[in-house]
Symmetry: C2
Subunit: 437 residues, 2 copies
């Protein structure tokens, strides 16, 4: 028989059991934090009509999308969870309650050029709140607290959620008469961490801006300090522009309320250089950076959009949401040696039977499982030494050996694999020891 090489395609992540366990633990933590804030789960088809998924247009999306025919159907794989959300909310509008708070954890697909840190299949973990007609700015203020508690639960402390508001930026550019250059300016300003202030000035000159305008822009993006300082500096600019003032009011609301949501000041700053892409968002925008690992980039981003589903319904459905790209994030954590799987089992107990008659070992296993202890039994006939080597390799915390002596005495020989200690215990004593570990 011809042997086919068992390889997956480049750009797809596949983990060994020990790493998959860590990955799933992270996924579970994200999920339970999303549920903690009252979001309900959704699941939508991975395959949809191409005209639906590509309704937003955009050459890049078009190029990267997996698109194919099956029979007469022009199909595609979803490349994000936002277009399916828009389609879902439009389709089920009359059965949903608004504001509609949903989370969606699932795979999306982009046929990008495979390169380090880029995946063609990746998990996204999204929460969005969708309003019917309108949606309070307090929802924008709540999302950073979801980011904060989620990343804290994932084991991070030193991270910063950066907030901005697109209306503040757009209003400022309108005010200085540069709205037509706003996207160019944002792209340059965004690089200030890399190329420095001088670099930014140089590039702004290159696109033809006046010295005076450049000075205003530099002064604007150099506004730093804690959130209340930035808010009062922005107020002091006396910018008489409706968009700007509206954005500033929103930004203030988001910043002022953060502390009531339980976010420490240090995890949360206004950053006037953040724009998050140039077309999609219309108000609040978020980025999250692990301060010790800035090279990872933003680990959780999102923002406010005025009208989620304009391609599918006449209704106005404003929304605000965030997303964690877990596949890429996990990959980078592995690269940085920040996560490492140590166990390739979820069992707490491995039972090794020494006799052919398995009735007693199986009864012990069933009793352990009925007490919510993950338990497996070593059925293969191998030497005790081989079985213990296997137990060490998979990283199971306890081994229970059951031979003639144990059956006679009705005591279990329990080995704590982390300390090497061995005990002869009744079932209840053993259970207590295992539960407490």
């Amino acid at each position: 028989m011809k042997i086919i090489e068992p390889k997956i395609l480049p750009g797809f992540m596949e983990l060994l059991p020990e790493d998959q366990i860590v990955f799933n633990t992270m996924l579970d933590k994200i999920r339970s934090n999303y549920e903690r804030f009252g979001f309900v789960p959704l699941d939508t088809p991975v395959i949809e009509k191409a005209e639906i998924l590509l309704s937003k247009g955009g050459e890049e999306a078009e190029k990267q999308t997996y698109r194919f025919k099956k029979g007469d159907n022009d199909l595609a794989l979803r490349f994000d969870l936002t277009v399916p959300l828009a389609r879902y909310v439009s389709s089920h509008f009359h059965s949903l309650n608004f504001p509609f708070r949903r989370y969606h954890i699932g795979k999306s697909y982009r046929g990008e050029k495979p390169q380090r840190g880029r995946f063609r299949e990746f998990y996204q973990c999204d929460v969005d709140i969708i309003g019917d007609g309108e949606l309070s700015i307090m929802n924008d203020a709540e999302l950073p607290s979801i980011i904060y508690f989620t990343f804290k639960d994932l084991g991070f402390e030193n991270f910063t959620i950066r907030i901005n508001n697109r209306k503040v930026l757009n209003g400022f550019f309108e005010f200085i008469g540069e709205e037509k250059n706003s996207s160019k300016i944002l792209r340059i300003v965004d690089k200030i961490d890399k190329i420095g202030k001088e670099g930014v000035i140089k590039e702004l000159l290159q696109i033809g801006l006046q010295d005076d305008t450049i000075k205003k822009i530099i002064n604007f993006v150099e506004i730093k300090g804690d959130n209340s300082v930035i808010i009062s500096e922005l107020n002091r600019l006396n910018i008489d522009n409706k968009t700007f003032l509206n954005g500033l009011e929103e930004l203030s609301q988001v910043a002022i309320n953060a502390k009531f949501f339980g976010i420490p000041e240090k995890n949360y700053i206004i950053d006037l250089t953040i724009a998050r892409g140039l077309t999609y968002y219309t108000g609040t925008v978020y980025e999250t950076v692990l301060n010790d690992y800035p090279q990872i980039g933003s680990v959780c981003s999102g923002g406010r959009y005025d009208n989620l589903a304009e391609n599918f319904t006449e209704r106005k459905l404003p929304g605000v949401g965030i997303s964690i790209g877990l596949t890429r994030f996990f990959d980078q954590l592995m690269e940085a040696n920040l996560v490492k799987g140590t166990q390739s089992t979820l069992s707490k107990v491995l039972i090794i039977p020494m006799l052919d008659d398995l009735s007693f070992p199986l009864e012990v296993a069933t009793k352990l499982r009925n007490n919510k202890i993950n338990t497996e039994v070593a059925f293969e006939k191998k030497s005790l030494k081989t079985q213990f080597t296997h137990a060490s390799k998979i990283g199971v915390p306890f081994v229970i050996v059951i031979g003639e002596d144990e059956i006679k005495s009705n005591l279990l020989s329990v080995k704590d694999m982390s300390t090497g200690e061995q005990f002869n215990l009744t079932f209840d004593e053993a259970l207590k020891k295992i539960v407490l570990k």
Copy 2:
């Protein structure tokens, strides 16, 4: 702007939040039972090379598979989780510990003709145990207990796990000189519940069998009784065929040990008419039927295969596994009105703030969440009546209203939505009431 009709494709399941919550609860129960028995999670790409996924051949698989090109790659979507498992185990052989116990809960794809109860995208919930070279029959004996505890946890009591062994069937057909007709005979015998004994005899005559042979077959499949009766009847047949005797020994092992795994006798029978497809399995086979809903068919099936990964490796990797097709099962439970979502939220508490200053309500929300209570805050400014209507609609168990009085008194006004009772409570009292519900 042109409005696109927001419809999904036929053959895809998409649920409203209240049903999605029920679906996910079932998925979680299946997962936790699989983990209870010491299985580790795997996740493999949905897209693989077509030559890998279609390596087993088979015209039907070929026809139903979503297959497409992206650049030069000939790709396909997985149509089950077994071929990816075979590829995974071959690919990662040296990094895995055997016996390798994995579960995989994920979506698979088959571009079938859409019809009631058939889905093109469906969840499969699989466990398999893979041995390196050999695998004890005790693994086959363990799987029915996983089925039993899982379905019990899903709320079912009256179901029967039917067991058989392909070697018993094949050995018997060899013994009566009908091995070349064995698949035809099995297909006919399989219909005995529908067409009756007379119908079976008629069809066996039509394929050209002798009266004498037909009598032997009917006697064989009519062996009924509890498991020990069937085993002793099979022994009494004195069939001198190696395959048969080997199968009978395996079937005895599986049947005898079932009770030590904690399965009540009534949930577990040997059924000599079960074959589970005609080529794939080589030993033990399983089916599971809800006795009150036989029309649903088998809700959990599986079996033993001698050689999992012969297309990918020279190694012999025997395995045994079971699968629950949750999408189809859930659909049928909904059809039969056996599941019905009642809540479209996972929140236990909805906080309704009555004042503009949200500091106190937000602090209460944060404290509840820190105590693991799923909590949401009603940010939209609406009348109390509208808010309570919303609370009833989503089915949240508790509503806490916070106005001036509550802030002054530092007491919370808590309404138990199921009883309509209202209480004025300190935070700790409220927490206790919510946790206990």
